[in-house]
């Protein structure tokens, strides 16, 4: 194993706490969308604070390999990409703080954003809180979380060395992380509710060619069983209705994401699934509040798109600030 060293922000209290300080822009979230926004905002000389939360880098930080981000022809580990974005974000003057927003008020300008200990104010906000793995919600899942049930193959893959695991899902995450798990596990069984995968073709080809991978089609997991740790899952074929047991030491769940928008309910308009509704240029229902990345769209979930939308959001925020200054408001 190569020794890699990652440094994430250490001091949550370095931010400007002086009374009355109003930021031009506060970015909430520290994934590719938020960090790209911080890069652009710093370069635009906006007085910017990025609240990145404690888990740095967002979903990409738990992605084994990112092979489709331009500029890295050999691919780059998700952790390293996140780290690079983070150090780039800090270069241009944005304050990066590993604190978490706990409450926001967008009803009056300047907007207020609270963390556990500090209240910040800003003229514009970019919501970039991303999305987190959705769980199955079946019996046994919560009980065995950390004892056989996982949503992080890069974190926990090692513990399944020589074992057998079930991966639930058929999208990019499920298949890419399933392939990653074959580095450790003897057998990776993909349980998918349809009869074909949704994952990108290149992942599909690799998965089908991998002798350690097996597929259980048209099936959903109904229960996760075990004693101290997981021993099997009960699956049901959605076409025949038959149930069967699949022996497994672990279950990795990749059945989609849920947006990190609890904080914003009642503040900006959300869609039925809880994602922030944005227009073409990342505007939310509140003028001056923008959203970027997976928090506002479940459709693409790509690092490059999250980054792009973060850049757009800053440009629009800059425009908004310029107009406000021009009209003498704010």
């Amino acid at each position: 194993m190569e020794v890699k060293l990652l440094i994430t922000p250490l001091e949550p209290e370095e931010a400007d706490k002086e009374a009355g300080a109003v930021y031009d822009l506060i970015i909430i979230g520290g994934g590719p969308a938020g960090l790209t926004a911080a890069i652009y905002a710093g370069r635009a000389a906006l007085r910017t604070l990025a609240l990145t939360g404690p888990g740095p880098g967002g979903q990409v930080s738990v992605t084994d390999m990112v092979e489709n981000f331009p500029g890295f022809p050999e691919g780059i580990s998700g952790a390293e990409l996140a780290q690079r974005m983070q150090s780039q974000a800090g270069r241009f003057g944005a304050q990066i703080v590993s604190d978490t927003a706990t409450k926001v008020d967008f009803s009056t300008s300047p907007f207020t954003i609270q963390t556990h200990s500090v209240t910040y104010r800003a003229r514009t906000v970019i919501i970039a809180t991303g999305a987190s793995p959705r769980l199955l919600g079946v019996p046994g899942e919560a009980e065995f979380l950390g004892r056989g049930v996982s949503t992080c193959a890069t974190c926990d893959g090692f513990f399944y060395t020589g074992k057998r695991v079930v991966v639930v899902g058929g999208g990019d995450s499920a298949i890419a992380e399933g392939i990653f798990l074959t580095k450790f596990a003897d057998e990776v069984i993909v349980v998918h509710r349809r009869d074909q995968l949704r994952a990108t073709k290149i992942y599909q080809e690799r998965a089908f060619a991998n002798p350690k991978m097996r597929f259980v089609w048209d099936s959903v997991v109904e229960e996760i069983l075990g004693e101290q740790t997981v021993t099997s899952v009960r699956v049901r074929n959605v076409k025949t209705g038959e149930t069967s047991a699949v022996e497994a030491d672990g279950v990795f769940v990749y059945v989609g994401m849920k947006p990190g928008t609890e904080l914003f309910a009642g503040q900006v308009e959300l869609d039925e699934a809880g994602y922030v509704l944005t227009g073409q240029r990342q505007h939310t229902s509140v003028p001056g509040v923008f959203a970027a990345g997976d928090v506002q769209s479940p459709d693409f979930r790509q690092v490059v798109i999250a980054a792009g939308s973060g850049a757009v959001a800053v440009m629009e925020a800059g425009q908004f600030l310029a107009e406000q200054a021009h009209s003498g408001a704010g």
Binding site: V3, L5, I7, A79, C152, C155, D156, F158, F159
Partner: protein, 217 residues
């Protein structure tokens, strides 16, 4: 070749620029049968060179047995982060990947000699009257793990009765097996209580108090 490239070294220098007091990185190693001893030693020496407040001290786990016992070190590679006093802050296995951040955190906290816990947290730790041992199992590729490690180390600093270890699970598979670690972070307190995932301070406190109650029985 150095483990810290120029850019990383510069960053570390900045992070450690204003250390509140001297800190010793006491490392235990041996020549053979230790996968990451050489790298851990190199890491400790490179980091120590980046701050005037830091010193590295390297001991041989076999021939310096007394020193190991004095610091309660029972496996290698080990790093004890020692400040004005020994707060019980330990790293077992190499603090690489995301855990490198935990090491920098530990150095800063030990230098300051005080924990940054909530008032309730400080109060609860002041009331710990039995020896408590927190072991936080991690892998270097786990971005959530440093939260648990840093929190445990803070508790060690806050209470003389608490010692806290980062345990890099892939280097100590027998311990991972013993404590049934199948996901990280997993915090084991006094062999009796365990916490799955990066739990927030109040939840860890509750578990600690639970373990304390059963230790007092």
């Amino acid at each position: 070749m150095p483990l810290l490239d120029k850019e990383t070294a510069e960053q570390v220098k900045q992070e450690l620029a204003d250390l509140a007091g001297p800190v010793r990185l006491v490392m235990f190693t041996q020549k053979f049968e230790c996968d990451y001893c050489a790298e851990t030693r190199q890491l400790v020496e490179e980091v120590a060179a980046l701050s005037g407040q830091l010193t590295a001290k390297v001991y041989n786990f076999v021939t310096d047995k007394e020193k190991a016992e004095e610091l309660g070190v029972d496996k290698i590679p080990a790093i004890a982060v020692v400040g004005a006093e020994d707060y019980g802050v330990r790293f077992y296995g190499i603090p690489s990947g995301y855990e490198f951040t935990s090491l920098l955190h530990a150095i800063r906290m030990v230098a300051a000699g005080k924990a940054e816990l909530s008032e309730e947290g400080m109060q609860a730790l002041a009331e710990v009257t039995e020896p408590m041992h927190m072991q936080v199992f991690v892998t270097p590729t786990c971005p959530y793990c440093p939260m648990s490690v840093v929190l445990a180390h803070q508790m060690a600093i806050a209470s003389q009765m608490v010692r806290a270890d980062m345990v890099e699970a892939t280097e100590f598979p027998h311990l991972a097996m013993k404590y049934q670690v199948m996901g990280v972070p997993r915090t084991v307190i006094n062999e009796t209580a365990h916490i799955e995932g990066a739990a927030p301070e109040p939840m860890v406190l509750e578990k600690l108090q639970g373990a304390l109650a059963s230790a007092g029985e």
